[in-house]
């Protein structure tokens, strides 16, 4: 693997980890994330929009969350989404020192239900914002890709 690619993957893993997990990944998680990219071709972007989605998401945790709000419904098979699922699987397979803790929220059930509803509302708002950003982008890139393919 090219060193620049490794640096790029480290940066990507760090952003996605902060988004998913709320903190930076340790060396073990970084190593596993990069290794998965070396050993599987599942995590490479295909197509202009796929690439653009990944570029936007890699800018920071807030962008990653916005992009994921869109991708979870409208780009479920994108490279970005596959990378997030890979990272999730790595975090849940690692020890609690490196990965997810199994602790539950700990609130009483009515409070927990209220939190779930609140998170649902926030998700809906993010989804609306994400659609405003990514739908036009998808249409534009889809049109330009179609034109490129036609030219070839």
């Amino acid at each position: 693997m090219m060193p620049t690619h490794a640096t790029h993957l480290h940066r990507e893993c760090e952003v996605f980890c902060r988004y998913l997990f709320g903190r930076a990944p340790g060396d073990y998680i970084l190593e596993k994330y990069c290794q998965a990219h070396e050993r599987s071709s599942e995590y490479f972007s295909a197509g202009a929009f796929d690439h653009a989605l990944l570029s936007v998401a890699s800018r920071g945790p807030a962008f990653a969350r916005l992009a994921d709000s869109y991708a979870c419904l409208f780009a479920r098979y994108s490279a970005f989404r596959r990378k997030l699922i890979l990272l999730f699987s790595i975090l849940e397979s690692a020890s609690v020192r490196h990965g997810f803790s199994e602790d539950v929220d700990g609130s009483a059930q009515p409070v927990l239900f209220a939190k779930i509803v609140f998170r649902g509302v926030l998700f809906a708002l993010r989804l609306a914002l994400a659609c405003l950003l990514f739908l036009p982008m998808r249409l534009a890139l889809g049109a330009s890709q179609a034109a490129t393919e036609k030219g070839h």
């Binding site: 999730f88 397979s93 690692a94």
Partner: protein, 536 residues
């Protein structure tokens, strides 16, 4: 004493072999036989394994991250974990052309049951009405197998569907979710019985609640899904090892049997096998022969044998398998509760739905999720992954899945044949399967009843999460060389003796003339014991 050659090392093969060995027959078992790798850190629990392994991600996700379940509409929620990859490893050159059927084959020591979930559900008298022998014969087989392997269960509401037999062990401790589910059922079961004819109880499982010979009772390590490191959970390779300890047994791994040869009197004279790693074939001779490689593999050997000797391309009709529906659910009362990973991981509860026709029984295995990976669930939720992570972690103790099974019948349109290449050197198994015309109604009815039952027990099935598995996914294959009282072509006697080849026995699911909505494995083992007892 006669020598007997057995093909395969799955549940039927090993119990057939053990019964014959105890009767002093000389038994040779031919098998590809990919072995199970040694257990990793056998004393560790699921949680301590993550802490103590230097590379837990490699163990749980695999060398090539094949354990990551990425979004794919055709893919199951869960596949076989990397630690059990050897179960589905196939020798080079093995291929199948299947239509309407997604078959699994195993060439592992112990066969596909090395990756089973341990369900031991005896068929009842009504379900074996088409079998040419009495229930009492099979009942003795169930008792014998239960004594050998260890089966837990309880005489509860499900006993109306699963006959009780001897040598049943006490059940294991219930995990918190299953215990809560059962307590609600006890309060509300009158309604379920009256309105849905639905009954819930403890499943019968091939695991140990007390020590059995060298095997220790379940110590709740929580590692069932990745392979029980203490062998409390039964797999057929345990019985294979027991056979290997006997002097009249010869195990020949590394051989893939392609066909048998027979003389003018239709007596089988030898088995021809190719080395799984490639090389020249070899003939193995004996007095009596048994195909016990699993219904499809045994059928392929049978088809090839007839084709090579006569040029006839047979079609063997009546292939069956259980249709399965996976219904994930959330138990509302368990949301926000902590979960205990150190508990038994497969299903501990089951549900049965009665039908006017006893053969129409619908069976469900209720598995509460504990140490199963969460990313396949999170990835399927209609929310960003951070929100999904919050949801699945707080709902972990509330998640479960019902694996609903439907029965199947032998039908002419479903057949197995061979596709032979021009020089007749290579052949592929061809499988054609179509569900019966009324299956959609049966599916809808079963889904509706299970959904209503779950709702009545305080559980909801999230929209869009239900999954009807393709035919072939349950790996309960049966019906291609059925037992029959009439001596029809390509059928077997009540002792699974071929009507065509008098010294050939078909000792696996191929001989079953009906497939109830139950895991077939326990009945395969019991039938193998029965055949060894009656015909030898």
């Amino acid at each position: 004493m006669d020598s007997v050659l057995i093909v395969g090392s799955g549940p039927s093969a090993v119990h057939f072999a053990l019964s014959l060995l105890r009767k002093n027959y000389r038994v040779t078992m031919l098998d590809v036989g990919y072995p199970r790798p040694p257990a990793v850190n056998p004393g560790d629990s699921f949680v301590s394994l993550k802490e103590n392994l230097s590379d837990p991600v490699r163990y749980f996700l695999g060398e090539h991250y094949e354990g990551v379940v990425l979004p794919n509409p055709a893919r199951e929620f869960y596949g076989i974990p990397p630690s059990k990859d050897y179960v589905l490893r196939q020798p080079a050159g093995f291929g199948v052309n299947a239509s309407g059927f997604a078959p699994f084959f195993s060439f592992a020591q112990g066969g596909i049951a090395e990756a089973w979930t341990g369900g031991c559900y005896p068929f009842n008298a009504a379900e074996i009405a088409d079998f040419p022998f009495d229930f009492a014969e099979l009942e003795r087989g169930y008792a014998e197998v239960a004594a050998r392997i260890g089966v837990i269960g309880a005489p509860d509401d499900l006993a109306r569907f699963f006959p009780l037999h001897e040598n049943l062990l006490a059940p294991l401790d219930l995990d918190a979710h299953s215990a809560q589910f059962m307590s609600v059922y006890e309060k509300r079961k009158e309604w379920l019985h009256r309105r849905l004819r639905c009954y819930v109880g403890r499943t019968r499982i091939a695991t140990l609640s007390r020590d059995l010979a060298a095997r220790k009772k379940c110590s709740y390590l929580g590692r069932c899904l990745w392979g029980c490191p203490s062998e409390s959970f039964y797999t057929p390779s345990i019985t294979l090892r027991e056979c290997m300890a006997l002097p009249n047994f010869t195990y020949e791994p590394g051989w893939r049997v392609t066909h048998f040869t027979f003389d003018g009197a239709q007596r089988v004279t030898s088995l021809v096998a190719e080395p799984a790693a490639g090389g020249a074939p070899r003939e193995f001779v004996g007095d009596r022969f048994a195909l016990a490689a699993g219904a499809l593999s045994s059928t392929k050997i049978y088809l090839q044998s007839v084709f090579r000797a006569t040029g006839e391309r047979l079609e063997l009709h009546g292939l069956m398998d259980n249709r399965q529906i996976l219904m994930p659910f959330v138990n509302l009362r368990m949301i926000g509760k902590p979960y205990n990973p150190e508990s038994y991981q497969y299903h501990q509860l089951g549900l049965g739905i009665e039908s006017d026709d006893p053969k129409g029984y619908v069976h469900g295995q209720i598995t509460t999720l504990k140490t199963a990976m969460l990313h396949p669930i999170a990835a399927n939720l209609p929310a960003d992954l951070r929100t999904a992570a919050f949801l699945v972690h707080n709902m972990h103790a509330a998640l479960g899945i019902v694996n609903v099974n439907l029965h199947d019948t032998r039908r002419e349109g479903n057949f197995v044949s061979l596709n032979v290449d021009a020089d007749a050197k290579d052949s592929r198994l061809v499988i054609n399967y179509a569900p019966e015309p009324g299956e959609v109604h049966r599916l809808r009815d079963a889904i509706s009843k299970v959904r209503r039952a779950l709702l009545h027990l305080g559980c909801i099935v999230p929209p869009g999460m239900l999954h009807v598995r393709p035919m072939g996914a349950s790996v309960h294959y049966a019906g291609t060389l059925p037992m029959s009282r009439a001596k029809g072509r390509h059928t077997t006697s009540e002792t699974c003796q071929s009507h065509e080849f008098p010294n050939l026995f078909i000792v696996d699911g191929a001989t079953f003339p009906f497939l109830p909505a139950k895991n077939i494995t326990f009945s395969l083992m019991a039938n193998a014991v029965r055949v060894a007892s009656r015909a030898f």
